[in-house]
């Protein structure tokens, strides 16, 4: 599961570009991650230029 750190995102869409399952939706001023579709690959966490996303280990 991916957590979006509040008020940090710049909505640049870099995470959308690398997401292999197309589960991120970025708008002019909003970001949504469909955690049901997310496969926990964490690529979005690694690529974010400003560390907006964090991986939450459910186990």
């Amino acid at each position: 599961m991916i957590n979006i750190i509040e008020n940090k995102c710049d909505f640049c869409g870099t995470c959308v570009g690398v997401c292999p399952v197309n589960c991120i939706d970025v708008d002019e001023s909003s970001i949504l991650i469909d955690n049901n579709k997310c496969i926990d690959c964490d690529l979005c966490v690694y690529i974010c230029p400003i560390e907006v996303l964090e991986s939450i280990n459910e186990a």
Partner: protein, 392 residues
């Protein structure tokens, strides 16, 4: 906004505007749908471009130019500075806010209709055939019919994916980028400075692009291979506090730059993908304005022809793929290989190359000589590089 158009262009950047301009000029009924409130804003770009690149499509306007560039300085990991004057090339640092805006006005003048604040939410299908887009325009859900949908929707493109095309960027081919537009700094005018090496920007480079007196875009891109361990912002903040602790930051921006092969299949029935969305970016420099304008132009021309011929099938749209192939695909493949070779050089290798080049007198240095000298470390690439510079 009309209920239907011949061609719907999703995204109002340079790729989208050029698609719209050339499609409209060639007789198609075109609209451009931009998700933000302003064309050209927010800027997510270093804003550097070559004179010859832009003037293939439009006449350069004075107010687009923030700075004219006639030399570059390459800084190696050990701090060796190499000044390279441009021989025939002229570069610019643009004001993308004005540039993008004006390109959309040019598209509009050609007959395209532009709309902002339109969020495209998905494609419209009828019996598995794409017949338009589902949008939200200023809070209102609508459907717009179109015979061809063009995805000019950038690095975060979804149009291609909805149509089943592979626009996803491999993490190793994505540059994670951060940039500040800053004042209160000493900056060499009419010159772009690029820092290379793992300490500045692993798998990429750090740039200082001046925009007038004491003002510059300072940014960097690092490869997705390395951004896991330290973010682009951290690299840039370290550089800024070391080199420009007194700087004022007027704009902070971040973004992704796909330095990949152009996507193999940027078309499907009733669909074309252009610009960043199709990975049309120079993989060595990360420069995407010119290839975006080029693929937009070619898609616009082919799109209009497809409307005239009443055939928007994938087979017909292959003309667009052929046109790109004849233009820059091969060159980008070679540049990609060069990028890969450069990325394998260690900081020590780069320092060695820099010392070699330093022995060439400045007035005799050309970008070509610098490049050739770098390639001596990787002889297998000389042939590829020769091809690029001789245009074979």
């Amino acid at each position: 906004m009309k209920p239907s158009y011949d061609i719907i262009v999703v995204g109002g950047g340079p790729a989208g505007s050029m698609t719209a301009k050339y499609a409209a000029e060639n007789g198609a009924d075109v609209c451009v749908l931009e998700k933000t409130r302003d064309i050209g804003y927010p800027v997510r770009c270093g804003e550097a471009v070559g004179h010859d690149g832009v003037t293939q499509f439009v006449e350069m306007q004075k107010n687009w130019i923030a700075e004219k560039i006639n030399s570059c300085t390459l800084v190696s990991p050990d701090g060796t500075k190499l000044d390279v004057p441009f021989a025939n090339e002229t570069g610019y640092i643009l004001n993308r806010r004005i540039f993008d805006y004006d390109l959309s006005r040019i598209a509009s003048k050609a007959g395209a209709q532009i709309f902002t604040k339109v969020k495209v939410q998905g494609l419209l299908f009828e019996d598995d055939k794409i017949i338009g887009v589902k949008v939200n325009h200023l809070g209102e859900d609508k459907e717009i019919k179109g015979k061809i949908i063009v995805g000019a929707d950038g690095v975060d493109s979804r149009v291609g994916r909805w149509a089943g095309l592979k626009t996803t960027v491999k993490i190793r081919d994505m540059e994670s980028c951060m940039q500040y537009s800053v004042s209160n700094i000493e900056v060499k005018r009419n010159n772009m400075t690029m820092f290379v090496g793992k300490n500045y920007a692993p798998g990429g480079y750090l740039w200082i692009f001046p925009k007038g007196e004491n003002f510059a875009n300072i940014g960097l891109g690092i490869s997705g291979k390395y951004s896991k361990h330290k973010s682009a912002k951290k690299y840039l903040d370290e550089f800024m506090s070391r080199e420009f602790p007194e700087a004022s930051v007027h704009t902070s921006m971040c973004g992704g730059c796909p330095i990949a092969y152009p996507i193999k299949k940027p078309i499907a029935d009733n669909i074309m993908i252009v610009g960043d969305a199709a990975h049309h970016i120079n993989p060595v420099t990360g420069g995407g304005i010119t290839p975006a304008m080029k693929s937009g132009m070619l898609a616009g021309i082919v799109g209009a022809e497809a409307i005239k011929c009443n055939d928007q099938s994938e087979k017909f749209l292959e003309k667009y793929v052929k046109a790109i192939d004849n233009d820059f695909t091969k060159r980008h493949h070679t540049l990609y290989k060069i990028k890969e070779a450069i990325s394998q050089l260690s900081d020590e290798d780069i320092n060695g190359i820099a010392r070699n080049i330093d022995s060439i007198p400045t007035e005799k240095r050309t970008l070509r000589k610098v490049f050739m000298s770098s390639m001596l470390k990787k002889p297998s690439l000389i042939i590829d590089v020769m091809r690029i510079f001789t245009g074979l």
